[in-house]
């Protein structure tokens, strides 16, 4: 397996572990892009998904927005915005956010909408306000699905953030793009492995978060 040899050679070279092009720096940059894009996307999509799911209104509009968001090619958008706006973080953030909004939006809407109506009615019957119904009944029950939407979005951002390097920014894509131009295969495969590793780490983090936040009762019934 020469791919594994490349990975080993890349990771065991101590010069790859420090400096502005070192692995810690690049991982940090990648994490920065990912978290920022995920936070913006969640800030947009979560409230909209929760409210529309709770009121069961606007499902068709939501589906339209989600399809439009999916249809936009992230990479094309990145290059286009880079040409228009110029160097900076904004041309990277817009495509990443546009990529992450549809899964969060659609999954949150579906999650809240498909909550079993009987406990919701019971909560209303007990005199809970609509806000409390949403936050104390619907969200806890829908949490596993909502988290799965966020996970999909996070993994897509991690893997797509590599294209930031094409417009001269940092992140792990730097190794892949530079390696391709320099015909340095070891660097390319090393970078690719790091990104895949980060995606797997994202899976692990979400698994942990769902372990900690999803109520045991909900976990057992699902």
């Amino acid at each position: 397996m020469n791919v594994l040899n490349f990975v080993h050679a890349f990771l065991s070279d101590s010069s790859h572990w420090h400096g502005y092009d070192g692995i810690p720096t690049r991982v940090g940059e990648h994490l920065h892009y990912t978290l920022q894009a995920l936070a913006i996307a969640a800030a947009i999509a979560l409230p909209v998904g929760l409210v529309t799911g709770h009121t069961v209104r606007g499902g068709n509009v939501l589906a339209l927005v989600a399809t439009a968001g999916r249809a936009l090619p992230s990479f094309g958008l990145l290059v286009l915005l880079f040409i228009w706006i110029g160097f900076g973080l904004l041309p990277v953030m817009i495509p990443l956010v546009a990529l992450a909004v549809p899964p969060i939006l659609v999954t949150t809407f579906e999650a809240i909408r498909s909550v079993d109506p009987s406990p919701v009615d019971a909560a209303r019957g007990m005199g809970m306000s609509e806000t409390r119904v949403l936050f104390q009944v619907e969200i806890p029950v829908a949490l596993p699905l909502i988290l799965s939407g966020l996970l999909t979005a996070a993994i897509q951002i991690v893997s797509t953030a590599t294209i930031a390097a094409y417009v001269s920014l940092g992140g792990l894509g730097r190794y892949i793009i530079d390696g391709l131009y320099q015909k340095n295969y070891e660097k390319v495969v090393g970078g690719a492995t790091l990104v895949a590793g980060m995606a797997l780490a994202t899976l692990a983090v979400f698994w942990l978060v769902s372990r900690l936040t999803v109520s045991p009762g909900v976990r057992r019934s699902s």
Binding site: N2, V3, G59, N60, L62, A63, A66, T67, A68, R70, A71, L72, P73, S74, F75, G76, L77, V79, L80, F82, I83, W84, V106, F109, E110, I155, V158, S159, T160, T162, I163, Y166, G173, I176, I177, G179, L180, Y185, V188, V189, G191, A192, T193, V195, A196, A199, L200, T202, L203
Partner: protein, 217 residues
């Protein structure tokens, strides 16, 4: 206006040629993914314990970034269309397998019992009862897979101009012709939306018994 469709000669394709190439690079993988996931999903329905590990595996494969996947494959299939299409086919599994499994599982047990009582064997029951009832779920999965596949092809540009319409992005950059990037982005988005609408129509044709109301997603 003509600048938008004046394709630089280095791409060796006309505008329509690029569209054809793009559709081929995006749709063939989804078709391959469907052909793989139909039997795979059936196995997962038959042997319940298989579903969790299969789903886990597809998620892990999906977590590999497209660019990284392309690059690793270059070693085996070179800087060709195949290198772009293999990852796209693999990605489609993460949507298609659960969609088909959920669809087939949603067939009510009474319906299956009725089919068995009418003398349907397992194969005929699968083809004539389970699959048709699962069509809406399968098409829902196909729509997500197709749209994201069409948008992902453009990343193939980075591995030696294998990105069909995405190749226009590089030309927009090196020739300083931003209108080419506009053409690329808008055409890809339009293709994705058209493919989505086409799949909705297919579902309406295949499921004449369903109420004609716009379903969510």
């Amino acid at each position: 206006m003509s600048g938008f469709f004046d394709i630089p000669s280095d791409l060796q394709h006309s505008y329509l040629g690029l569209i054809g190439l793009h559709l081929r690079e995006a749709l063939l993988p989804v078709l391959a993914g469907l052909l793989v996931s139909l039997p795979l999903a059936q196995l997962c329905v038959r042997f319940r314990w298989l579903y969790a590990p299969v789903l886990g595996l597809t998620i892990v494969l999906y977590a590999i970034p497209s660019l990284a996947f392309f690059v690793v494959l270059i070693d085996y299939t070179g800087q060709t269309e195949t290198t772009v299409m293999i990852p796209l086919a693999v990605y489609s599994l993460v949507v298609l397998v659960p969609a088909i499994v959920d669809g087939v599982r949603s067939v009510p047990p009474e319906t299956l019992a009725a089919a068995t009582a009418m003398g349907f064997g397992p194969v005929r029951r699968y083809l004539q009862v389970q699959l048709p009832i699962a069509v809406p779920a399968i098409i829902a999965g196909l729509r997500v897979a197709t749209v994201s596949s069409i948008s992902l092809v453009s990343v193939g540009m980075l591995i030696g101009n294998q990105g069909a319409l995405g190749n226009l992005l590089n030309d927009a950059n090196i020739y300083h012709r931003p209108e080419l990037a506009v053409t690329s982005v808008l055409t890809i988005a339009a293709l994705a939306i058209l493919a989505d609408v086409a799949l909705i129509l297919v579902r309406l044709l295949l499921t004449p018994w369903m109420p004609r109301k716009g379903a969510v997603r």
